[in-house]
């Protein structure tokens, strides 16, 4: 199909321009919107089962429904919100714009990746309706419980879950191939690797981590599907002792841990972008952050057995893995110190995106630091599978998925839609989310210290837990208000899409390349010009400069033949 670049990139009919569009910006938005809707769904499911936790004797959910809701909350949030929004949404939208390319390296592959993802989200949503209900074996689906229908009564749900997961990995693999090739090959002239903006670095490291880690789980998922449908004995123990449930845990967590970093790192990239843009100050220690993130990525492959300290492993293994787990806190410590020093001495403009980024940064510190409790294996004997773990990963996930993404949305909304979001609503939403999130998640640490095991549909059966029921009330109340607060964001998002005040090319006066393009950028991003890069990504308030920022490059009109 001949490709002509005109004002609106109108080529082909309506369907190929919007529904099956190959424009990285439209695909980025589609990922973002589907991810946010799944987040809404995950939030609603969370509120439902949290109300069962707070008032168990009112039987809001039967035990099976509670388990399947907890599982679906976990699965949806990690695979159908974090991956699409952070990798699909911001990856697709920001990478080509930030590196001065016209589009992704393989636009058709990119479009295919979104629609495989859409198919996988339909499959996972359908798995609610199949007889036997959705999966109820935890989002980690540990082996004999998940792959044997006798134990949980869930037959179709588990097979659909596995198929949806493999489809989602396939779509993210296609996306990953696209990002790595684009970042490597399609950079503008003069944009060396060390001048890349931090978000692009983080997306690339995330894509590389995902590429290398997803293999074992696709293999594991395939074996589990065979186990489930045909009845082979990979993970199910037979009388003669064949089959090994711990092998599933190994395969899952070998993928699992790099996966949680794949989800965390882009969030930190967004926070870095927003802090430098609103703080009017260059990112302090750019090289240190890049190398420490790469070090964290490499380390994340040798860390996976800290999820299985008490899971029947050979105890010798636990010694090695606990040391690597504690070591991994150092790269992230360097990262957060660098962010802190970036803030010190800048002239900070308190915009709503900055508030979210700051909130995300603070929550990330708490999340990262509480990881030490679980990395030390003797403490993990007591704390494994308790609410302490739940609180820890809610802090680390939340800092990047919710706070990081919404900071990114507030920051790039003018570029996406050409209109600004309402700032006052944004600030109210930021402060509200931060407060009520901490009100919801921080008490869970104390529940964990009290020894409250996770995935309990009611804690009143045990005397040593019954006295902490008030924490459940507090957490459920805070969670309900937190989810309710998101309505402000939805309202603000859709209203300012049409009636927000017009935004010029560079509303936040930031330096990275995407602010040179139109907002919203035309098809092919730079029209009849193409960017050339001269200076680094964060040249803010250089001495002797009239303006307090120096854009990274400038647009040179080039004659484009078609």
């Amino acid at each position: 199909m001949e490709h002509t670049i005109d004002e609106h990139g109108s080529h082909g009919g309506f369907v190929s321009r919007y529904v099956f569009s190959q424009d990285h910006k439209v695909i980025g938005l589609q990922y973002l919107i589907t991810g946010l809707i799944m987040a809404l769904l995950g939030g609603i499911i969370a509120v439902i089962f949290r109300s069962q936790l707070a008032w168990p004797n009112r039987e809001v959910l039967s035990p099976e429904a509670y388990n399947s809701f907890v599982t679906m909350h976990g699965t949806l949030m990690v695979f159908w919100v974090a991956m699409p929004v952070l990798i699909g949404g911001f990856g697709n939208f920001c990478i080509p714009l930030m590196i001065g390319a016209r589009d992704m390296a393989f636009p058709t592959l990119n479009m295919l990746s979104y629609w495989t993802f859409f198919l996988s989200s339909i499959v996972i949503l359908v798995s609610f309706f199949v007889p036997g209900g959705a999966v109820s074996a935890g989002w980690t689906a540990y082996a004999p419980l998940s792959v044997d229908a006798r134990f949980t009564g869930v037959n179709w749900g588990m097979s659909l879950w596995l198929v949806a997961l493999i489809l989602e990995f396939a779509s993210m693999l296609m996306g990953g191939v696209n990002y790595i090739t684009t970042i490597f090959n399609l950079r503008a002239k003069g944009l060396t690797l060390m001048r890349l903006p931090m978000l692009v670095w983080m997306e690339m490291i995330a894509a590389v981590l995902f590429m290398f880690s997803v293999g074992p789980l696709i293999a594991g998922g395939g074996l589990a599907l065979l186990d489930k449908s045909i009845g082979t004995h990979f993970f199910r123990v037979t009388a003669e002792g064949q089959g090994d449930p711990v092998l599933w845990q190994h395969l899952f967590w070998f993928f699992g841990h790099p996966e949680v970093y794949v989800v965390l790192i882009p969030g930190l990239g967004i926070i870095a972008e927003v802090i430098t843009a609103c703080g009017r100050k260059a990112l302090h220690g750019y090289k240190a952050i890049v190398y420490s993130t790469i070090a964290a990525g490499v380390l994340s492959f040798v860390v996976w057995a800290h999820h299985m300290f008490v899971a029947g492993l050979n105890p010798l293994l636990a010694v090695g893995f606990s040391i690597t787990t504690i070591l991994i806190s150092i790269p992230f410590f360097i990262l957060s110190v660098a962010f802190g020093l970036t803030l010190w001495g800048g002239s900070i403009r308190i915009t709503s995106s900055f508030l979210f980024a700051l909130g995300g940064y603070l929550i990330f510190i708490i999340g990262g630091v509480t990881g030490l409790f679980l990395g030390a294996q003797t403490a993990d004997i007591y704390l494994h599978d308790t609410y302490f773990v739940v609180a820890h990963f809610h802090y680390t996930f939340f800092s990047s998925i919710i706070m990081g993404t919404i900071a990114g949305i507030y920051h790039w909304f003018p570029k996406m839609f050409g209109r600004k979001m309402n700032e006052t609503l944004g600030k109210v939403h930021a402060v509200g989310t931060f407060i009520f999130y901490n009100l919801f998640a921080f008490p869970l640490f104390f529940l964990g210290l009290a020894g409250h095991p996770r995935r309990y549909s009611s804690a009143l059966e045990y005397d040593f837990l019954a006295k902490y029921q008030w924490i459940h009330h507090l957490a459920t109340g805070a969670a309900i208000i937190l989810v309710a607060l998101q309505i402000i964001f939805i309202y603000n998002f859709f209203k300012s899409m049409f009636t927000g005040e017009k935004a010029e090319k560079n509303p936040w006066r930031a330096t990275t390349l995407e602010w040179l393009a139109e907002s919203p950028p035309v098809h092919g991003n730079w029209g009849n010009a193409s960017p050339v890069v001269e200076n680094g990504p964060y040249e803010y308030s250089v001495e002797g400069d009239s303006d307090d920022f120096r854009p990274q490059g400038k647009l040179i009109p080039t004659h484009v033949k078609h």
Binding site: F212, S213, D244, V246, L313, N314, L317
Partner: protein, 95 residues
């Protein structure tokens, strides 16, 4: 875009070596009984063949570092996965 002058190693010779190696591996499979020795020899043989194919047929010899790292890193991860899981099965090994 024939940008780099692609010099081709002598493919037929490489192919011939590969066939010889395969025959050797079949012989190893038949006549060596000591299990540990057999498996290691087979593995070394397979590794040599894989490297030969990768370097010559897949032109890894003339590639940039980026692509070579794209191959080497997953292999180290594969080795890592095996040795990460090995102590777990040590207690129940039955050859």
């Amino acid at each position: 875009m024939e940008d780099h002058t692609e010099h081709h190693p002598n493919y037929v010779l490489i192919w011939f070596i590969l066939v010889i190696l395969t025959i050797i591996s079949i012989l190893i499979g038949k006549y060596i009984d000591n299990h540990v020795l057999k498996v290691t020899l087979l593995f070394v043989n397979a590794a040599i063949k894989a490297v030969l194919v990768a370097l010559n047929f897949m032109h890894l010899k003339f590639e940039k570092v980026v692509v070579i790292s794209l191959v080497v890193v997953p292999l180290t991860l594969f080795i890592l996965l095996i040795f990460g899981l090995m102590p777990d099965t040590l207690s129940t090994i039955k050859w």
